[in-house]
Amino acid sequence: MKKIHYREWGIKSPVYWGLLAVLGVIMAAGGLAALYMEHNGHWVTGMNNQIVWGVPHVFAIFLIVAASGALNIAAFSSVFGKKIHKSLGRLSGILAMSLLVGGLLVLVLDLGQPTRLIVAMTKYNFKSIFAWNIFLYVGFLAIVAVYLYTMMERKAAKYYPTAGLVAFVWRLILTTGTGSIFGFIVARQGYDAAIMAPMFIIMSFAYGMAFYLLVLMFTFKMDGRPLGEKLLYRLKNLLGIFAAAVLYFVLVYHLTNLYGTENHEYEAFILRDGGIYTTLFWVGWIVLGLLVPMGIVFHPALGKTHGGIIAASLLVLLGGLVAMYVIVIGGQAFPMAMFPDKVIVASGFYDGVNGEPLYYAPSVWEFLLGIGGVAVALTATLVGVRLLKLLPVSLEDEIVDPHHS
């Protein structure tokens, strides 16, 4: 492997500022939406006392999960010794941090009392996985920052393998924590499953890789930097494998549920009778979000085109958002089993009368906030690669030499 040189993203200033302006408008829209919701209260959203977490949580959790996954590309090099990935590590670090910041912003701005963030930072209930997550998220940012430093500063290079290992273990714990937000909820039929944590980890692999591929291809294309085919194919094959792994976990999750009679109604809701949630599950998550991108990346011709790889990555991300919608909203929409051997025939609080799903119609403000979070993540990444030496000058196959991994 030849020596890799890194250089700041050198696209022309008007293009760079133009990009930032577009992202700035999206971020401003997200910020204004957050202000609007905060000023009026959550009644202007589609959320209610039945569906308490709405679209902002869908985006926030999706971005946080993707963040930990984006770090994998760096980890492949420093933990698993795949030298080919070493040149990709810096972008992996900055993307992971940016996605996490974007996700956290959405999460925090959707709080009922966002100004009380200081309370969340000073008062802890350590039995709460949320409280742990505050440490896991802040710790992730700090550890990845140090990890990036060991990649970029020659004097710190000797700590690179250690930092890589710590970062990788940390990211596994972090996604375990995120998955456990749902895994630990005993009250709801769709959650309360230990498989939630590993499933979220494998989802993070796929979404992180999809984000990474898109950002890598975009930044290299815009800057005219060479990107070797073999390296690109390796990454897109990994994307396909991760999508297959997500499919496997979804299959195991539902098969396990189907075996227990107590879960039959929930399974029927998601897989067959749940209306929008069933459609989103099959069409959005399984077919468009997993099977189609797998078909594309493993297709002998399509998988070798940039268009195909971009489409597959976008579909995996779209499927990821849909997956979160099915998990977060669908899981709440299914009525809780408050009376397992009875049917609720009337209720003064919308308790899922006759098994009817609970009602939620997301508002535009919620989507704007969520998309704003994505824009924050992309902006932070683009500013990062513009200011710091994060992108390799070339990723030509002769330079990264995929045959000597």
Binding site: N49, V52, N125, A187, R188
Partner: protein
């Protein structure tokens, strides 16, 4: 000579110390002697407040308990925000107690019952709350400290009884005994203000003319609720979760 001075100093110190101690302690002593309100004493775990709901006495179509609760806790003061869709608002407005009608899957028997916070001994809402705002008092009352609730709604996700409400709007009018604010979560607190002022009932119990709701101390074997609970079987909702609820039902 020096030992004499020391002796005097010692005597002075002990008198001064006694005087200081008396100054600090006396008001407390006098307060006790005057039989002050219970709110001056810390809540104790010697009592555990709970309720027994006799669904066989509960009448279909009656919602007196709901009305009583709403009046007592200022929920009847809430108005839909300007421009709010009435149907959407109805799903967003808080309810501490609601009536639910259930039908047995096997026998078809229909039961009407009031649902509220079940005041678990091991409340899932308390477990998941990141700041500790969701807490259980020593006397068994589960409630929200609205000074440190950040409005994350994780407790609402975790509650198996859907007992909690989020305040979705600005509050114009509220009662001193039931403070509330936009962006916080709240739920039935067994009329905690009555507990702290020496009251012996809850608003829902007072409102129920059918005598279906009985409030009391589960730890006192002589209390009416304990005696009633001993007399006949009672049910915990979602007993499989082993939360040891403070609210028990009869007839379901």
């Amino acid at each position: 000579m020096s030992s004499k001075v020391d002796q005097k100093r010692r005597e002075f110190m002990s008198v001064a110390g006694l005087a200081a101690a008396a100054t600090v302690v006396a008001p407390g002593v006098f307060l006790h002697a005057a039989g002050a309100a219970p709110r001056s004493e810390p809540v104790t775990g010697k009592v555990r407040y709970g309720m027994l709901i006799d669904t066989t006495k509960c009448v279909d179509g009656c919602d007196d308990c709901v009305q009583g609760c709403e009046k007592e806790n200022g929920l009847d003061l809430l108005r839909p925000p300007e421009g709010a869709d009435p149907e959407a608002w109805d799903r967003q407005r808080p309810r501490w107690i609601r009536t639910v009608k259930v039908k047995d899957r096997l026998t078809g028997k229909v039961t009407t019952l009031p649902m509220m916070c079940q005041h678990c001994e091991y409340p899932p809402c308390q477990d998941v709350c990141p700041t500790g705002a969701s807490f259980r008092r020593a006397d068994g009352i589960v409630m929200v400290d609205r000074h440190i609730c950040i409005g994350c709604r994780y407790c609402m996700m975790a509650c198996p009884y859907k007992a909690r409400s989020f305040i979705h709007e600005d509050i114009d009018e509220k009662l001193t005994r039931a403070p509330r604010g936009k962006g916080c979560v709240e739920s039935c607190n067994l009329c905690v203000h009555r507990r702290d002022n020496g009251g012996t009932t809850t608003a829902c119990q007072d409102a129920c003319k059918h005598g279906a709701i009985l409030f009391g101390d589960l730890n006192d074997p002589e209390s009416e609720i304990s005696q009633e609970l001993r007399k006949r079987n009672n049910t915990q909702l979602r007993a499989d979760l082993k939360l040891n609820t403070g609210v028990r039902y009869r007839g379901i």
